[in-house]
Amino acid sequence: MAAAGKEVKLIGSRPSPYVARVRIALHLKGVEYEFLHEEVFGNKSELLLRSNPVYKKIPVLIHGGQPICESLVIVQYIDEVWAASGPAILPADPLDRAVARFWAAYIDDKLGPNCVALALRLGDEASRAESKEQLFAGLQLLDEALGKISNGKSFFGGDAVGFLDIAFGSYLGWLKALEKVEGIKLLDESRFPRLAKWAERFCSAKAATDVIPEPDELVEFVKLLAHR
């Protein structure tokens, strides 16, 4: 198999939800890899700058010396290269794939970044209020989508963690950190019953073990960032 014997390295850092996505995908496929810690507060490493000259950002997967960038692109790459090594991350049916990609794009556009920005206390009062509204509206839509897509099963991907679970689940650390920082309940069982239960299942999933940071860890991280 093409994958066999080629080294796998991941440039990343623990707080990044985008890095979390890649780690979960690698765990799902049982792939061994070297985690190259990129310092969040220092200068970017030579390796990072060389491997991702366009964006200079983590995560970067380096497989057999070749770099792959952009978290969702990397997740699809992992799914394809290690197709035989674990459950499929993307669904098999083209329409289901299109739906999964649609919601993943929505999450990256309207949900995730809002969540992180709010946790970091960025923006003025007005823009923060708008972000919160967008976040709640998004959670509502996602809760409904989960109902339709999962068809009563545990995850967006069905019985196992899939693409969309990874796309949203990777933000759960930040969502919980935001809940702590603001003192509000976002994944409120009464408002978003399906999503709230799904979140518990996701965080307990084997592939997510030790990947999603605890809210306290991120709250500390936010404090550190604020001091710089």
């Binding site: 093409a2 366009v54 497989h63 070749q66 792959i68 960038c69 952009e70 692109v73 990397i74 699809q76 790459y77 394809e80 290269v81 083209p94 329409l95 794939r97 299109a98 990609r101 649609f102 794009a105 929505y106 839509l141």
Partner: protein, 221 residues
């Protein structure tokens, strides 16, 4: 055989995103019903088919909607894999194609839009940024026939529709794509001769007119 009989496309003639889908459908030799949307008065069908964004393009295949242009293009490639593949077959090349299509999505529309929307200092800044984007794309294209190498593919489809806007960008900003990115300009000309592109590319003069209209409406002039 996959349901070829029922393909509908909800679109707007000048939309670069819609055009991506039109090129993909043409590459696959697919027949479809084209619905021109009035963006000022969106149809019931559009609102029902894309309730989240209410935007075109929307592909409706056998009654089921697919939204977001690059997602639609990949869908088309996956449903009709037997002809003119749009994505390459090996995972690394596929990842590269997705990366660059995504880059184009993130940078070109916004960047180009600023060239006919802004004035003065802001326009100068926007020009600098757009030139950088063009040069990055130029670097990626290099001396290849297509972004996909020998094969016309996802990245070509992602970028081509913006070439219909080059004239408008140039006219309003004074930028010259030919000067800043000659290989890209040559690539655009080469691709415009490809049948799937020739029959779907909007007239750059009409696009320029539309940009002018939009400028007035937003109070730039």
């Amino acid at each position: 055989m996959a349901g070829e009989k029922e393909v509908k496309l909800l679109d707007f003639w000048a939309s670069p995103f819609g055009q991506r889908v039109r090129i993909a459908l043409a590459e696959k030799g697919l027949e479809y019903d084209y619905y021109e949307e009035n963006l000022a008065e969106k149809s019931e069908l559009l609102l029902k088919s894309n309730p989240v964004h209410k935007k075109i393009p929307v592909l409706i295949h056998e009654g089921r909607p697919v939204c977001e242009s690059l997602i639609i293009v990949q869908y088309i490639d996956e449903v009709w894999p037997d002809r003119n593949p749009i994505l390459p077959s090996d995972p690394y090349s596929r990842a590269q194609a997705r990366f660059w299509a995504d880059y184009i999505d993130k940078k070109v529309y916004e960047g180009g839009y600023k060239l006919w929307k802004l004035k003065g200092e802001e326009l100068e800044e926007a020009k600098k940024e757009f030139v950088e984007i063009l040069q990055i794309l130029e670097g990626e294209l290099g001396d290849k026939e297509y972004f996909g190498g020998k094969n016309f593919g996802l990245v070509d489809i992602a970028m081509l529709p913006f070439s219909a806007w080059f004239y408008a960008y140039e006219a309003y900003s004074g930028l010259s794509v030919e000067t800043e990115a000659p290989k890209l300009a040559a690539w655009a000309k080469r691709c415009s001769e490809r049948e799937s592109v020739a029959k779907t590319l909007p007239d750059p003069d009409k696009v320029y007119e539309l940009a002018g209209l939009l400028r007035k409406r937003s109070g730039v002039e």
